[in-house]
Amino acid sequence: MPRPIGQELVALLPRLRRFALVLCRSPSLADDLVQSACERALANADHWTPGTRFDAWVFRILRNAWIDHLRRTRTEGMKEDVTAQANIVGDAGEEPMLSKLLLVEIQRMIDAMPSEQREVLLLVCVEDLAYREAAEILGVPIGTVMSRLARARRRLVELTAAA
């Protein structure tokens, strides 16, 4: 019997859902994705090594579930309404110096970025994962994580400086 992970999984739900929204940009799809990832995590609980980051392990499962979904829709044709943007604008109260308007603007810029940049921004800048941990979740070398991340952040700085 693998170690129970249910409680940790429930605690992780808000962050899993946020990551899912970054990946698929559709709230209903995000919920399906989270549910499917939880199912896989529970079924494979014995694959998680205690002492390693539980959140990174589940993030990776979630992302694999998303890739599987993409694999299917890519060749079959996208069915989801990807234009239905989730309203995931942050809490301006967190940083009184940033106006709500600027936050909305930044969110719009991030939304317009390719998904490979969006996901790495979330994992490193928001989830505070190390480059190495993000690389493991994404299944790419650290150098790739760094170049995607630097490109996305440079772009954000350029756009907000011009505004």
Binding site: G6, V10, L13, R18, Q35, L42, E76, V157
Partner: protein, 258 residues
């Protein structure tokens, strides 16, 4: 004095605290004498902060109650608590005990996903009965092995529909398994029901996995079957889909070996 050049990745890593001590020390030194380096580092600090502020905080209140209940039900099923989910519908459907379906022979992750109104065929072509129904040799599963289906698999590009005497077939994708074998995922819609399967090319096409639903079973939800299929593809290490010229070449290679 030779001026060291630091690229964006190095300066970003410095801002993120990801550099080892030695490199960090040389960046620090450069920063004190080179305004441009200092400015670029400050921008990376700022961008991290901007991104962080622009994302919503992840609080428990953002999780829809239906999602929470569904995940709680999954946990209860796996970790054996008696608690009942609060919301009906989708959650209840997922609660079917897996042994009731005789799915214990499937790997664990699947058995749970398979506790839906679906028939699963595992590797080797064995049949698992649909709830309340005997496996039928004239049903959608048997038709997956029909000569017309095998021919269509050799000839139809992904994304195209093909009419067969007993229904309509659609090839979804072409890919290679971890062991290099060429495989195709496809759908078959027939009067007896619809099914989704993976067939791989050995000497001829052999169905390795299938998920099917009876035509009259209105509780079947395609996305659940899709999840089952997705889990299978992940388990067997299915590669990225072959598209365009890659697909044509792989398929023509398969024909030549026939």
């Amino acid at each position: 004095m030779a001026q060291l050049h630091f690229n964006d990745e190095i300066l970003m890593a410095f801002a993120d605290g990801e550099l080892d001590e030695q490199v960090a020390a040389s960046v620090e030194k450069a920063m004190s004498s080179d305004l441009d380096v200092a400015r670029r580092i400050a921008e990376f600090l700022r961008s991290r902060h901007l991104v962080r502020s622009a994302f919503p905080s992840a609080s428990a209140s953002d999780v829809p109650s239906e999602l929470l209940a569904a995940v709680q039900a999954q946990i209860d099923r796996f970790e054996g608590h008696a608690a009942q989910p609060e919301t009906p519908g989708k959650v209840q459907k997922l609660q079917t005990p897996r042994h009731a379906l005789g799915l214990d022979m499937l790997p664990l992750g699947w058995a749970l996903a398979a506790s839906l109104a679906a028939i699963a065929v595992a590797t080797g072509g064995y049949l698992v009965g649909q709830r309340g129904a005997e496996p039928s040799l004239s049903g959608p599963i048997a038709q997956l092995a029909a000569p017309e289906v095998r021919r269509a698999l050799s000839e139809t590009p992904s994304g195209q529909d093909r009419d067969l005497p007993f229904g309509r077939m659609r090839v979804i994708s072409t890919f290679r398994m971890a062991d290099g074998s060429l495989c195709r995922e496809f759908k078959l819609e027939a009067a007896s029901g619809s099914s989704e399967a993976v067939a791989c090319r050995d000497r001829d096409w052999t169905v390795r996995f299938a998920v099917a639903s009876g035509a009259t079973n209105d509780s079947y939800v395609p996305s659940d079957g899709a999840d089952l299929m997705a889990g299978y593809l992940q388990d067997v290490g299915a590669g990225a889909p072959l598209v365009g010229a890659e697909e044509i070449e792989a398929l023509s290679g398969a024909r030549r070996r026939k």
